[in-house]
C-alpha cells in the first residue's frame, strides 16, 4: 500500500509520541514551521502506557503559549491513530495541511519576509 501525503509535511520519527517535548514543538515554530502536529497512538494503546497522553498535554501547553503570543493555537495539534491505519495517517496529514493553508504562513515567517 503506497499512499501519498502532502509533500510540504516533514515527518520526524520518534519511538513514542511521549518523546516529543514542549521545547521541540516550540523550536519548530521558532524555526519557521507554519504548523506542527504529533501523530500518536490511540489513547489507551500506548506501548509505554501514557506517552500519548503526555504528548497531548504538551500540545495543549504549547497552544496556550502561542495564544499568549497572539499566534493561532490551531497551528499545533495532537492526533491519535493506530500504526496500521495508513489511510487515516494520510487523512490527518491532508486535514492539517488544509488547516495551515487556510491559516496562511506563520506570523513568524511573514515578518521575516517583510524585514
Amino acid at each position: 500500500m503506497r499512499l501519498s501525503y502532502p509533500s510540504n509535511i516533514k515527518v520526524i520519527q520518534v519511538p513514542c509520541s511521549g518523546r516529543v517535548d514542549i521545547i521541540h514543538l516550540l523550536k519548530a515554530i521558532e524555526d519557521g514551521a507554519d504548523g506542527v502536529y504529533i501523530a500518536g497512538c490511540l489513547e489507551g494503546e500506548c506501548h509505554f502506557l501514557t506517552g500519548n497522553l503526555k504528548a497531548r498535554k504538551r500540545v495543549n501547553y504549547v497552544k496556550k503559549v502561542l495564544e499568549e503570543l497572539g499566534i493561532e493555537p490551531e497551528r499545533v495539534e495532537m492526533f491519535n491513530l493506530s500504526a496500521g491505519e495508513g489511510p487515516r495517517f494520510v487523512e490527518i496529514a491532508k486535514e492539517m495541511a488544509e488547516r495551515i493553508q487556510e491559516l496562511g504562513p506563520s506570523p513568524v515567517n511573514v515578518q521575516k519576509k517583510a524585514a
Binding site: 521545547i23 499568549e68 503570543l69 506570523p107 513568524v108 515578518q111 524585514a115
Partner: protein, 222 residues
Amino acid sequence: MIIADRKPLAELLEMIQDCDRILILGCKGCVTVCNVGGAKEVGILASALKIARKKEGRTLEVDERTLERQCDPEYIEQVKNEVGDYDAVISMACGVGPQFLSTAYPEQRFYPAVNTTSFGGAVQHGVWEERCAGCGQCVIHYFGGMCPIARCSKSLLNGPCGGSAGGKCEISKDVDCIWDMIVRKKTEQGRLEDLLDVKPPKSWDTARDGGPRRSVREELVQ
C-alpha cells in the same frame, strides 16, 4: 520548598522591550522542583520570547544558563564574566534570585520571570499547595500537624469560622477548610479536648510584621 508561577509572557516581553540580547538564568533549587524556573523552563521561555520577537520582525539573542542556586553568593559569582555582555538578565529563580544578582552586579538590569507565591509542596504531580506562612514561631503541633496560619484564609487559631461548608473554605470550593480537617483528625484520634481551650493571641513579632528577618548561626560565621 518555595513555590512560584511564571509571569505572563506579555509582561516579560514588556520588560525586555528595548533589549536585543538577553540572558535567561534558571535556578536548580526550588523552582526546578516546582517546574517553573529550571533548565527546561529556561529553554521554553527562550524559545517563546524568540518566537514573539520574530513575529514582530525583530530578532532577540537569548543565552540560557541555569545556576546551582541563586540564593548563595558563590553561585551568583559564576556569571561574573558574562553578565555584562547582555542588555538585561531575566532570572527564573524565586524573588531571592534577582535580588542577589542585583546586589552582586549593580550595573546590570535583572528582571524576575516568576511570581513567587508560597512555601509548600506537591500534593499531586503538577499541583502545589501552600503549607507554611513563615511566621517565625511554629505551632503546627497544636493543630494535628496542620497550619491554620498558612492554610486558614483568616489564619484563625480558634476555628472553624461560620463559613466552613462541605469541608471547603468560604472563599472557594478549591480551598480545603483546614479547620474542618483539624477537627476531624482530632476527633478520630479521640483528642478533641486539645481544641477546647482558647488559644491566646499570637505574637507576630517573629513574622514579617516584626520587620525583615535574619538568621545567624554563630558557629558558622567567619
